[in-house]
C-alpha cells in the first residue's frame, strides 16, 4: 500500500508541471503587453512608467523557455499579480473568497455522495420497478437541466413568488450580528462560525440562504453519481458470489449492504474526481446567479473584464485541487480494491 502511495505521489509533480505548462501555452496567445498584467501587483506600479519599459523589465520579449522558467519561479513564490475584478492582489482575493466557496462546497458534497450512492443502489435493487423508473426520469431531468436554468427557475419560484429563499450568502440582520464584537470569526465559514458562537439566529439565516444554491449545485453531480452507482450495482448483483451469499441463507439486507454495495462502490469512486471538477464549473454559475461573493463569481467577473491574472490563477488553483482530489480518490480506490495495488 505504501509503495503504491509513493508511486502515485511521484506522479503528482509531473501532472502539476503539465498543468502549469498548459496555462503558460494558453498565455502565449496574448501580446506581451497583455501579459505584463500578470506581474503587476498594484495599479500604482503603472504610474510614471512606460509600458514598454515594463515589458522589458519583466523580459517578456525573451525566448519562451526563459520566460517559462521565470514564470514558474514567481508561481512558487506565490505571486500571481493584481486582479482588476477583485480590486486586490490575486493571493489576497483567494484568501477572501475561498471560505465562501468552501461553505457552498461543503454543504453540497454530502447530499451528492449520500444521495447518489444510496438512491443508486436502491434503484438497482428494484431494477425496472416503479422506483427505478422514477429515479431514472429524475436523474435524466437533473442531467438535462442546465445549472443556470435550474438556478434562475429556483429564484423565480422560491424567491420571486414564494419569498422563501433569498439570494446572497446572509441576510442584513444576521450580517449585522456577525459584525458585532461578540461574534468571533473562527473559520470564515458562516454556518460553522455560527455553531461555534452558539448563535442559532445566524445559523438558521445562513441555512436559509444555502438551500437553493446547494440544491442547484449538487443536482447535476447527484444525477451522474446515481446513474453510475446503479449500473455498477446491477453488474455486481449478477455476480456468482452474490448468488453464493444468498444460497447460504444470508438475509437479503446483509447481501445487499455488505456483499453487493461495497463492491459496487468502486466505479462511482473513480468518477468522484470528475464530480469535483463538475462542481467547480457549477460553482461559477451558481455563485453568479445567487450573488455569493466566492471564487466562482470572481472568476466569472474576471472573464467578463479580461482580468487575466485572476483567470490564470483560478485555472491553476482548480487544476491543482483536482489533481490532489484524484490522488486521494486513487488511494481510496486502492484501499477498497486490493487488485489495484498490485498492478
Amino acid at each position: 500500500m505504501l509503495s503504491y502511495i509513493i508511486r502515485r505521489l511521484l506522479m503528482l509533480p509531473i501532472v502539476v508541471f503539465g498543468c502549469i505548462l498548459l496555462v503558460y501555452i494558453v498565455m502565449q496567445f496574448m501580446t506581451p503587453y497583455q501579459r505584463v498584467s500578470v506581474f503587476i501587483s498594484s495599479p500604482n506600479e503603472l504610474k510614471n512608467t512606460d509600458i514598454d519599459e515594463l515589458v522589458e523589465e519583466y523580459g517578456l520579449n525573451d525566448p519562451a523557455w526563459v520566460q517559462f522558467g521565470r514564470w514558474v519561479a514567481t508561481i512558487f513564490k506565490g505571486e500571481f499579480g493584481y486582479s482588476q475584478a477583485a480590486q486586490r492582489t490575486v493571493t489576497n482575493a483567494f484568501a477572501r473568497f475561498i471560505p465562501v466557496s468552501a461553505e457552498l462546497a461543503l454543504w453540497s458534497v454530502v447530499p451528492v455522495i449520500l444521495g447518489g450512492i444510496l438512491l443508486g443502489s436502491a434503484s438497482a435493487v428494484r431494477h425496472n420497478k416503479l422506483f427505478d423508473h422514477v429515479m431514472r426520469v429524475v436523474a435524466i431531468i437533473g442531467w438535462s437541466l442546465p445549472t443556470f436554468v435550474a438556478g434562475l427557475l429556483g429564484l423565480f419560484v422560491f424567491y420571486g413568488i414564494l419569498e422563501w429563499f433569498p439570494p446572497g450568502q446572509i441576510g442584513i440582520e444576521a450580517s449585522a450580528v456577525m459584525r458585532s464584537a461578540e461574534f468571533i470569526s473562527y473559520t470564515g465559514l458562516i454556518t460553522i462560525d455560527a455553531v461555534l458562537n452558539w448563535n442559532w439566529f445566524v445559523f438558521l439565516d445562513a441555512l436559509r440562504h444555502l438551500v437553493l444554491p446547494v440544491f442547484v449545485l449538487s443536482f447535476v453531480s447527484w444525477a451522474m453519481l446515481l446513474r453510475i452507482m446503479r449500473t455498477s450495482m446491477l453488474e455486481v448483483l449478477r455476480q456468482d458470489y452474490i448468488t453464493t451469499a444468498r444460497s447460504k441463507g444470508l438475509k437479503e439486507k446483509v447481501v445487499i449492504k455488505k456483499h453487493a454495495r461495497r463492491n459496487a462502490l468502486i466505479p462511482p469512486l473513480t468518477v468522484a474526481g470528475l464530480t469535483i471538477a463538475f462542481m467547480f464549473s457549477g460553482m461559477v454559475i451558481t455563485e453568479t446567479i445567487f450573488d455569493w461573493h466566492g471564487v466562482g463569481r470572481w472568476a466569472a467577473r474576471a472573464a467578463q473584464t479580461f482580468d487575466m491574472p485572476a483567470l490564470l490563477a483560478f485555472m491553476l488553483f482548480n487544476g491543482s485541487l483536482i489533481v490532489v482530489a484524484n490522488l486521494i480518490v486513487d488511494i481510496m480506490y486502492a484501499q477498497l480494491d486490493p487488485r489495484v495495488r498490485l498492478q
Binding site: 501532472v15 435524466i140 438535462s144 454559475i285 466569472a300
Partner: protein
C-alpha cells in the same frame, strides 16, 4: 450485421423514453430546417442576428407581432429560439464530431503503440482533465475573444479526452479476444487488425458517450453566453436569451410573474434539447452496454 442492427432498433423502439427523446429530436430538426419560413430573417445575409424593435431595456409581454414577447433590449424571443435551434445543432454536431474524431485517433494510437507512447499520451489527457470544462473554456474564450467559432474551438480543445480514454480501454480489452488473435494468426497486419477488426467493435461506447455529450455541449456553450464570454451580442443563441432575461427573473413587487416569458421560453428550449439527447443516449447505453446485456 444487418440483422443485428434490426435487433438493436427493435430493442430501441421497446424503450418508451428513448422513443420520446427521438421524437423531440425530430421536432428540433424540423424547426431548424424550417427556420427561414418560421421566422423570416430581417437581414438576408445575417439570419442569426435577432431583430429588435427599439432599445428599451424593459421586456414586453407576448403580442401578435412577438409571439413569445421581447426580452431586454427588445430582442424578439420567438426569433431567437427558432434560429437558436440551428445554433444548437451546429455547435453540438461540430464540437462532438470533431472532438470524438480527435479522441478516436489519439486513443487508438495510444492503445496501438502502447508502452511509453501510451504512458505519455495518458499523462497528457490527465493534465487536460485537471481543468474543469466550463472554467477552461471560459479562460480560452476570454483570450480568443467573443464569437461562436471561438466557443467551438475552446470546447473541442477541452472535449476530446473522454473519447480518447474510452476507445483506448476498449481497444485494449478487445485486442486480447480470440477473434483478434485468429486474425493475427491468419497473417493480417497490425494496422489492418486495428482498423478492420478492433475499432468497429470498440466504437459503440464512444457513440453512446457522444450522444450523451450532445446535450451537455449545448449547455456549456449556453453557459458561456450566459456568463458573457460566448456568442456575439444579439446572436440567436439560447444561452444569450437567458442571459438577457436574467435581470427580470424576479418580476415587479406585487406581481412576481410580470416577466415570466423572458426566461421560461428559452429554458424550455434548451432543457428539452438536452433531455431528448440524454433519453436517446440512455436508451442506447442500456441496449449496447455489454455489461448490462441479459439483465431484464
Amino acid at each position: 450485421m444487418k440483422k443485428k442492427r434490426f435487433v438493436t432498433l427493435r430493442k430501441f423502439i421497446r424503450n418508451p423514453l428513448g422513443v420520446i427523446g427521438m421524437l423531440i429530436l425530430i421536432f428540433f430538426i424540423v424547426i431548424a430546417a424550417l427556420a427561414p419560413t418560421l421566422a423570416p430573417p430581417q437581414w438576408e445575409n445575417e439570419p442569426y442576428r435577432i431583430p429588435r424593435s427599439g432599445f428599451s431595456p424593459t421586456p414586453k409581454p407576448p403580442d401578435e407581432e412577438h409571439p413569445f414577447g421581447t426580452t431586454e433590449g427588445q430582442y424578439d424571443i420567438y426569433y431567437g429560439i427558432i434560429w437558436g435551434t440551428r445554433t444548437a445543432w451546429t455547435v453540438s454536431l461540430i464540437v462532438v464530431g470533431v472532438s470524438a474524431a480527435i479522441g478516436l485517433v489519439i486513443g487508438s494510437v495510444s492503445a496501438f503503440y502502447g508502452g511509453i507512447v501510451d504512458e505519455v499520451i495518458m499523462r497528457i489527457t490527465d493534465i487536460f482533465y485537471a481543468f474543469p470544462f466550463l472554467v477552461g473554456a471560459m479562460v480560452i474564450t476570454t483570450i480568443l475573444g467573443r464569437g461562436l467559432d471561438k466557443v467551438m474551438y475552446a470546447l473541442i480543445a477541452l472535449g476530446w479526452m473522454g473519447y480518447a480514454r474510452l476507445i483506448r480501454s476498449d481497444i485494449i480489452r478487445i485486442r486480447e479476444l480470440e477473434y483478434v488473435q485468429a486474425a493475427r494468426a491468419a497473417g493480417a497486419g497490425g494496422l489492418r487488425i486495428l482498423v478492420r477488426h478492433i475499432i468497429p467493435n470498440a466504437i459503440w461506447p464512444v457513440v453512446v458517450q457522444a450522444s450523451m455529450n450532445m446535450g451537455s455541449i449545448v449547455i456549456t456553450a449556453a453557459a458561456l453566453s450566459f456568463l458573457g464570454v460566448g456568442a456575439n451580442m444579439g446572436y440567436a443563441d439560447w444561452g444569450q436569451l437567458i442571459s438577457y432575461g436574467r435581470n427580470y427573473i424576479i418580476g415587479l413587487s406585487g406581481n412576481p410573474l410580470a416577466y415570466w416569458y423572458v426566461v421560461i421560453y428559452p429554458s424550455i428550449a434548451i432543457t428539452l434539447f438536452c433531455l431528448s439527447w440524454n433519453l436517446v443516449g440512455d436508451a442506447m447505453r442500456d441496449i449496447l452496454d455489454p455489461r448490462l446485456r441479459g439483465t431484464q
